[in-house]
Symmetry: C2
């Protein structure tokens, strides 16, 4: 994109309403704009990050055998009465009456709806197991929304659901999702740690939260340094191999990891001091196994091989997609701005034209832009060099291709890596090869 | 995907609640399930169609210079009071009160919100023109939702907005969108005809509706046969060339096209009889130019080159993305089921295993599936051949690769083209080459 023709309204001043760094940087870099308390519009650069994150989730969920669906945002209150959660949910549920005075709600999660869909669609044990997920907007009417997209009211979430015939198969689904989640976060360029968690309002027997490490994280976390070198390769663990899934799960859960709320100082003291790591974390996902809680309450059963009814065992699996945009920034920024991991960056590179209107400089910039296309943001504004440097650092593109009249006369550009600050003088050809990686 | 492990619940019986063919076929082919009146969940095959349509829209809107953004579904009532539409909109607007008793609504369209975003983000004439669009869920609380996704309450829509400094530039944006829309519908494999339209509740001076031809369409349409052979090629009309945009617009609007409501029998009688075409149509998009209506009411102005305030000229541009899934089926089906155009089909091909469990047949099917991957739906169910034939015709995959034990013994398969019914005996290699196209 050409910056002169784009809606990327960067801001120099620190917005007064933003208390934390990711919120400040998302506003300053022109990624989002608040529309109501806890409700945001995503401008072009912000939406590109959101799409990148969603597509990483999709790719790895597909590999893990999950099918994508999409459920509506507005649900019927009657559906939630079947599970007993309509009255139980409290004021965070946004309750609505339509023109016929029917009670509706904006879905905060979808266990009920998908159980009802399965109940209508699936009759035989032959149709299970199934693993389904969606990436859809949800609403939770937080009493005091804050921290930007980290705790918004309308938020974008991946929620997945597994349906299995028995406990062993459900545990296998749970373990498959744990592996898939670890690979998803790895593919985004962040380090996540799974921690045993309470099951909360969804209920159930087994749950893990995933936290990414960020100095500004909401929780203190304690973990074994072995998490820093986990091998998640396809050769090490296959989704199709039960022994692999079990070995992976056993390895994950054998290592110490806890938030400060669940920290066990005795167990911690048994870990060699050299292996202990402390930090802060932000929760970005959670997985639950909860058995037949919903299938029994909602009367979802399939006919088994012997003709007997089986209530499927269920689990649910969430990733905060919009939350991750903020969490990644909390984990990866400096005083000058965002430092996007390559995999989620809105643009892979910025092209900075230091002398707009100089024919040689313009020509080399156009050549660079033609070579990178949509992966690049071309800063073609009639602005000072200092402003372009500051905005590129703020927006956090992994690469900056800096083109001024002196270098351009010799066909040379300066290539800067945002994360390390490393700079090199290179020909345009070598630059493009390096940026395309 | 393997059908045995997929949630594609086909139905043999005609669903009683569905009055029109696309609604019946979408239910029967397992694409959607109703959750409340006029509110649908999209199952895996249906969602693939929705994504295909959305991605065609994205690709061509990007070429036309539009930037994608994403606005929230829940809006503040105060925003709509600024334009005067909050009270004017009527009972189709879903009005909501949050836990703090603030008046909110589920957006039926986004002129107000984007005008407010631009007002906060853009100060100078240098920042215009801009063209922005989103693909987002909307809600209109229809009093009697019907016809499935053709007239749902929660629906998926592409809505775009242009902001220009003067009338000439706004007209250019309008014409660019008309060209982009015609290319979008062409790329989906349907024929669309632009017709001069009333501006309705959005207001303004100029509007066109796009109808696709379908024997079951809601409106009668009358048009010049020249629409059947419109050249939309990039070499004929460039988005960057004003003379091209003008020539395209003049050509489109010089040809007769009208729904029965606006039919002009005198003008019609002046068209040579051989050039007259009559049919039925379904509205799938509409474009509006409405000048400074919103920018004035909402106080959005930029500073012009001479320091004077300029209220930008606006237009808005809609495509019914979820509606199109139904409209395309209305335009393309037969007694046996859906006939998907290649570009939007959920799967490019189905592989029908006629003897599940026969080693040779299974092996050849697996080979075909490995060769096509995610583009194919492999019917590996332990079902009768007749059921597999019927379901493949119902689901409407462009190609069927039919593999039985006799052919498999010689490495041969039968390839059927759904649209024409043509069949051929081919080697697997030739089949894959043909299906990959």
């Amino acid at each position: 994109m050409r910056l002169s023709r784009s809606l990327i309204p960067t801001i120099k001043e620190t917005p007064a309403e933003a208390q934390i760094v990711s919120h400040r940087l998302m506003l300053r870099a022109g990624l989002i704009r608040q529309q109501s308390s806890g409700i945001y519009a995503w401008l072009p650069a912000g939406l590109r990050v959101l799409h990148n994150i969603a597509n990483i989730v999709r790719a790895e969920q597909t590999r893990a055998g999950a099918q994508e669906i999409l459920m509506p945002t507005i649900q019927s209150a009657d559906l939630w009465r079947e599970s007993g959660r309509y009255d139980a949910y409290g004021p965070e549920m946004l309750r609505i009456r339509d023109r016929h005075d029917r009670e509706m709600l904006y879905g905060p999660t979808n266990e009920e709806m998908l159980t009802a869909i399965m109940r209508d669609s699936v009759q035989s044990y032959r149709d299970l197991p199934q693993m389904l997920y969606q990436i859809q907007w949800k609403f939770r009417d937080e009493v005091r929304p804050r921290f930007g997209v980290l705790r918004g009211r309308e938020f974008y979430m991946k929620d997945g659901y597994s349906f299995d015939l028995d406990y062993a198969s459900a545990v296998s689904s749970y373990r498959r999702m744990m592996l898939s989640y670890m690979r998803i976060f790895r593919d985004m360029g962040v380090r996540a740690i799974p921690m045993r968690a309470d099951t909360g309002p969804i209920g159930g027997d087994l749950s893990h939260e995933f936290h990414i490490l960020a100095p500004t994280g909401e929780s203190g976390v304690f973990y074994d340094k072995a998490f820093e070198t986990i091998d998640l390769g396809n050769d090490t663990y296959s989704y199709e191999n039960q022994a692999d899934l079990d070995a992976f799960f056993d390895h994950m859960t054998s290592l110490y990891a806890a938030t400060d709320e669940k920290h066990d100082t005795v167990a911690w003291s048994n870990i060699p001091e050299a292996d202990r790591r402390e930090g802060r974390g932000i929760e970005i996902g959670q997985i639950f196994y909860f058995g037949t809680k919903y299938s029994e309450k909602m009367g979802f059963a399939v006919v088994g091989p012997d003709g007997a009814k089986i209530h499927p065992e269920m689990g649910s699996y969430g990733i905060g997609v919009s939350r991750l945009t903020g969490a990644i920034i909390e984990a990866s920024h400096d005083d000058a701005g965002i430092i996007w991991p390559d995999a989620v960056a809105p643009f892979h590179a910025a092209i900075l034209n230091l002398r707009q209107g100089d024919a040689t400089t313009d020509a080399l910039c156009e050549q660079a832009y033609a070579g990178l296309g949509d992966a690049a943001l071309y800063d073609d504004r009639p602005a000072r060099a200092g402003e372009k440097f500051a905005d590129a650092d703020l927006m956090g593109h992994p690469w900056q291709i800096i083109i001024g009249p002196r270098g351009a006369a010799n066909g040379m550009v300066e290539l800067k890596r945002r994360r390390t600050g490393e700079r090199a003088e290179l020909s345009l050809e070598d630059t493009l090869a390096k940026v395309r990686g």
